[in-house]
Structure formats: C-alpha cells, structure tokens
Amino acid sequence: MSRFSKSVLVLALAAASSTAFAFDNYKGIGRDAKPAEVAAWDIDVRPDFKGLPKGSGNVERGQELFEEKCASCHGSFGESNEVFTPLIGGTTAEDIKNGRVGGFVKGDIPQRTTFTKVATISTVWDYIYRAMPWTAPKSLKPDDVYAILAYFLNLAEIVPGDFTLSDRNIAEVQAKMPNRNGMTTDHGMWPGAPAKKGGIGNGGIPDVKNVACMKNCKPEALIGSTLPEYARTAHGELADQNRSFGPVRGTRTLGPEAAKKAADASTLDLATKSGCMACHGMKNKIVGPGYNEIVARYQGQPDAEARLVAKVKAGGQGTWGSVPMPPNAHVKDEDVVTLVKWILNGSK
C-alpha cells in the first residue's frame, strides 16, 4: 500500500529469515516460506508501481462506475462530506505545478480531502483495488480501478476529460499529483537507516524526549491546571469508577470530605431502607433513642460496636425503657456493622 507498509513487510521478511537461522537448532520445525506463499501476501502496489497490475480505463467509464458503485457515499463529484471527508477538492493548478498543496503551506486549507493529502497515486490505486466498494471489497477489476482513478484525476483537474489511465502512463500522472512533495519521512515512525545513509527515515530517533532528570531538578511537580470546582463532580466519583489495580486510577473528584458525605448519605439510605429510621431519629428520640443519645451513652467503650451489633440483630428491651426493639434478622450482617459504625461515628 504505502512505502511504510512495504518497509514493514520487508522487515517482517527479514525477521522471518533470521528466525529461520534460529530454527537450525530445531531440525524439522518450520521451513522457509515458498515464493508462492510470499507472493500471496505481497499484494500491495508500491509508489514505484511495483505490484501494479496491467490494465487501463478512461474517464467516461470511470464516471459510469463511480456513479453506480461509489457515488452513493462519496457524491457524484467526490464532494460528499457525509460519510467520509471529500475525495476531491482543495487543490489548485498551482498545487499541481508545485507538487505541494498551498493550503497546507499557508495553513488556510478549510478541509482536507483525499487529493490534498495523498502524495502517491499508487496508494489511491491500491486502496480502491483492495478496499472499495466498502460493501464489496476486491470486487473491482484492475481496469475498473484505472477507470475510476482516471475519473478522480479528471475531477481534480489533473487530467483532461478524454484521458485514459493505464499502467504505462500512471507514472506521468504521479508527476502531476498536487501533494506529491508533501510527504516527509524525517521522523521516527519510519524504520531503517537515516535518509543520508540511504534509508528513508531518521534512523528511528523518536519524536519526543523524556530524559530522566539527574541534577538541578525541580523539587516537586507543580500542578499546572486542575478541573474547576463546578466541573469536578460532573461524572461522579471517578476514583470509584476505575479499576483499583494497574497504572490508571481515577482522581478523587468529590474530594475526601465530599466522598465521606456521599458514603454517609448512602448509609442513611441504608438505615431508611432497613427500617431503623421509623423508630430512631438522627438527633431525637422517636420510639427508640436518637442516634445522638446512643453515641453519648456508648462513647469511649471499646466493645460498644460488637455489643450494639448483637443488640441490633437480636433486638432488646430495657436499656432505654420498656418499649422493645424487634430483632432485625432481615438486615444483612455487614449492613448492621455498617450502620452501627455509622451511628457511633456521629451518623453524619
């Protein structure tokens, strides 16, 4: 498809052949790929047109095919912006002359289209041949692809309306591609040797640097920006929504105070649901004692929690008067513990 994937393929093949040496230690395991097997994988069309099938197609035929198979998504003139970005547009006669789309240089390009971006016509050919139409990829014959591409080139005003594109003149078209000089390889994504040593990339130097500081370092990291207060709770407590293991944790969006309040609020819900609030008030006696009274009586007693848990479960009578508390077998044990802890902590 692109130079890039070809290079990866070459690397992969190199890796495969080197592993073949490794297999010498394991006689009878694995074998070299046969030429036919490699050929079955080697389906791309390179910018130097290696791998390009023979064939030809003219603009008129391309228009028919495009209208029939492509226009429903791409628009009759490749202008549609509804399913994907437009195919055609944004290029000028000047760009065709310079080989660089002026909109990118000046930065005033309103929108990218396929023909403003693509540097190599082979890429478009290869893509259409392999991936289009979306509903029936690989259904186009090489001649169909040449025709459709001729139609594109005519729409983009690169070739005249009576043009016939073929494997023999595609190189001449490449020399007119509006963004043919727009591709850079001077970055770490390109494998192999640097350009000055005959490779295509920068020798694998990464685009970013993260050097560990060894001296005169900042004493601490300063937080440059934070979520504004009003926005912090927009998605609830993020810390509770992330996994508790692994490198990524959600921040405590509600803050420790608010998180506690939220937890308490849910305990209050639990108390209401469990039927406690029918007889006990937060700060007043109803039938049974208020939680504030309970706290006052049991404060400072280390075994209070265990005794109260037992009392809540089994019910009781006499401590606070003659009205009995019924047993609460319907409340789960862990909920009882939660509730008792909550009451003893002031039920706030």
Binding site: Q63, E67, G75, S76, F77, E79, P110, L155
Partner: protein, 103 residues
Amino acid sequence: MGNPMKIRAANKDGVTEVKVLVSHEMETGQRKDAAGAIVPAWFITELVAKHGDKTVLSCEFGPSVSKNPYLAFKFKGGAKGEKVTVSWKDNKGDSRTDEATIG
C-alpha cells in the same frame, strides 16, 4: 468567467436528475483576512437551469450558500442526448454557463 461547473444529468423513467457542482468562492463579506481587512462579498446571486429553452430551475442565491455549492434536482421529461444548461450570475457581474448532455 469563473471556473467550469461540473454537471451530470441522467434520465431514468422519464425523470431527469441533474447534479451540479459549482466552482465559486462564495465570500460572505463578513470574513476578515489576516490583516483584519474585510474580505469583500463575492457570491452567486442567481442560478438558472434550462432543459433546452425551458427553465426547469431558477433560484436566488445569497451569502449563506457555501463555497463550491453542490446542487441536485429532478425534473420531469428530458431524454438521452438532450442538453441541460446551467448558468449563474454573481454580485460582481460575472456569469458563467455550462451545459451537459443527459445520459
């Protein structure tokens, strides 16, 4: 003179569908350039489509229409080989006419 329009016209079951891609800057007159000066308004004001001598579409355009407008419409009648012509005028007095053969 403007740049040529791209026009497709196709007849199917007695109805002709016409698609037009007009090439025009369509400046609203509201934009400012890098220097802060207002880019003068420059837009199509009228567009007429004819089938032979008969007007099948007539519209008034304004600054709210996009750059390089795309237009699609259908009319009853038309036959293969007949001509559809589309012409526009803009606020600078420029105009252009292009024609296509119904296919």
